[in-house]
Amino acid sequence: MPQATGRADATRAVVFSPLDGAGRAELVEQRLTDAIVAGVLRDGERLPSESELARSLGVAVVTAREALVALRDKGLVLTRRGRDGGSFVTHDRDTSMRMIDERLRAVSRIELRDLSLHYSAIAGMAAEVAADRASDDDLASLVEIDARADLATPGGARRAVGRFQLEIAAVSQSPRLVHEELRLQAEAGPLLWLGLREEDSRDRSHRARLDVIQAIRDVQPEHARRATTEHIASAVEWLIDEKVRLETARHPTEGGRP
C-alpha cells in the first residue's frame, strides 16, 4: 500500500533500510549516530530491539548489538532493563554538536566536493525531470510539504529538505532516482544539511525550495535543476567554511583564515 508507512517521514524510514558493504557495525553505528545527532531520531525515543534492527538493516544480530554498545559508549543511547526496557535515544545537545563537528573534521574537502557533485547529479536530474512530469496534484503536494515545514528548528528544517527532495524524486517517476535519493539521504544527509542549524541557511533553503516549486509550476526543467544544484553547492560551501573554523579553533598556531 503506497506511502502508508510514512512518506511524511521517509528521511527517518531510511535509517532502518538495508545496509551493504564491509564494516557493518561501524556503518550501523554511523547511521544511527547521524540520525540521533540530526534529531531524526528524537530524545527519549525507543530504538528497535537488536533483532528488529538486525532484520531491517540486513545485518547479523551480533552486528546490531555491537553498534548499540558503541552508541551507548558514546552516550547517545541508554539501555534500560525490565518489562518496559530497551535502548532509548538520549539526545544531548552538546554531545551531538561535538559528534557532528568530529565528523566534519574527519571528512576531507575532496570528499565533500565529491559528495556535492554526486548528490547534485541525482537531485538535479530528479528536479529537471520532475519539472516536465509533475501533474497538478504533484505540484500541490510539493507546495504542501513546503507549507508544513517547521523552519524554527534545525531538525524540522532538515526533515523538510529530506521530504521535499524525496517527493521531487518521486515526481520524476523514477524508482532508481528515488532509491538513490534515499540512499544518499541516509549516507550524507545529516552532514550535508548541517548548515541548517543556522537561521540564515534555513531561510536560504526555504527560498531555494520556493524557487524549485516555481520552476516546476512553469515547466522550466533547466531552472529547476539549477535551483537544486545551487542549493546543494551552497550547503557544501557552508560545510567547507565551517571545517576551516573548526580546524582553526583546534590548531590556532598553525595559522587560520587569511
Partner: protein, 278 residues
C-alpha cells in the same frame, strides 16, 4: 461532433479494459465478502467476531487476497483492506495489506520469497505514522464513493517500484468503513498491454486520466512522462471528473489530429496519433 474511429482502435480499447476488468471484478468480490461479514444476517460468520476487530478480520482478509497473490500469472503484487480511522474496535488506524513473493521490498537478500504482510505504522503518535486518508488512493474513492485507479507512481514505501494502485470503498449502512484494493507493477502491466496496443498499426499511447503515459508503441513516449498534446487535458477531464468513468465511452478528436479512445471503465484512455508517413 462525429468522430470516426478505427474499429480496430475501439476493439483495442475494449481489450485493454478486459485485461484489467478481472482485477476490478476480483476487488468487487472481496468488497462483497467484507460487507457481508461486517453487517447483515451473516455478519461475523467468517471472523467469529460480532464487532469489527482487526484481530479477527485480518485472517479473513489474508484468506481473501492470498490466493491471487500466490498465483504466478497474476497482475497483482499487493492487496488487502484498509480500515477507516476509528472503525475497528481494537485498531484505530489499520492496514491489512499483503505483498506477493515477487516483492522483496524491505527484506534481506536471503529472505524466502513468499507472501508477506506489509509492516505499517498504525500508532498515530509515532514519527513514521502517516495519515493515509490524505493519500490519493484513499482520498479519491472517499470523495467519489467509487473505485479509483491511482498511478503510475513510485511507491517507495511499499512496493518500492513503479506502481498502479486500484482501490474501492467498503460500506456498512452507507458509510465508508474502509477500502479494498490491489497494487500492480507498471512493468508487468506494460508487458501485458503493449502487445495489444501494438496491433493498431498507429503510434498508440495508453495514458491515465491525468495524461500520464502507462505504455506506448512510440519509443519517444516514455512511461511516466505526461503526454503533452493540444486539447488532451480537456478531453481527459471527464475521465477525471466523472464519479463513474464507465459513463465516458465516446472517442474524442484532438485538434492535432490524434484520437482519444476511453478504455471502458478503467479511467485509462488510448491516444492514437496519425500513422507515420511511409
Amino acid at each position: 461532433m462525429t468522430v470516426t474511429v478505427d474499429l480496430a482502435a475501439e476493439h483495442i480499447a475494449r481489450r485493454i479494459a478486459s485485461t484489467i476488468d478481472p482485477v476490478f471484478t476480483m476487488i468487487d468480490g472481496w468488497r462483497d465478502v467484507l460487507e457481508a461479514e461486517l453487517a447483515g444476517p451473516v455478519a461475523g460468520a467468517l471472523s467469529g467476531s460480532p464487532e469489527p476487530r482487526a484481530a479477527s478480520l485480518d485472517p479473513v482478509v489474508a484468506a481473501l487476497v492470498s490466493v491471487e497473490l500466490e498465483r504466478s500469472a497474476s497482475l497483482v503484487n499487493g492487496a488487502g483492506f484498509v480500515a477507516a480511522p476509528g472503525f475497528l474496535a481494537d485498531a484505530p488506524w489499520h492496514l491489512a495489506w499483503w505483498l506477493s513473493g515477487s516483492n522483496t521490498f524491505g527484506v534481506g537478500p536471503d529472505a524466502a520469497s513468499t507472501l508477506r504482510r506489509l509492516e505499517a505504522v498504525s500508532d498515530p503518535d509515532a514519527d513514521q505514522f502517516r495519515d493515509y486518508t490524505t493519500l490519493e488512493w484513499w482520498r479519491v474513492p472517499a470523495r467519489t464513493g467509487t473505485r479509483h485507479l491511482t498511478g503510475p507512481y513510485v511507491d517507495y514505501l511499499c512496493t518500492d517500484d513503479y506502481t498502479v494502485t486500484i482501490t474501492t470503498p467498503v460500506r456498512v449502512d452507507g458509510e465508508m468503513v474502509g477500502l479494498v484494493g490491489t497494487d500492480m507493477y507498471v512493468a508487468r502491466l506494460e508487458q501485458v498491454l503493449l502487445p495489444v496496443i501494438r496491433e493498431s498499426g498507429h503510434p498508440c499511447t495508453l495514458v491515465n486520466a491525468s495524461g500520464r503515459i502507462v505504455a506506448s508503441t512510440d519509443a519517444r513516449r516514455a512511461t511516466g512522462a505526461l503526454l503533452r498534446l493540444e486539447g488532451l487535458a480537456d478531453a481527459l477531464t471527464p475521465l477525471r471528473e466523472e464519479a463513474d468513468a464507465a459513463t465516458v465511452t465516446d472517442a474524442a478528436a484532438l485538434p492535432g489530429g490524434a484520437t482519444l479512445v476511453p478504455c471502458g471503465d478503467t479511467s485509462l484512455a488510448l491516444v492514437l496519433e496519425a500513422a507515420p508517413v511511409e
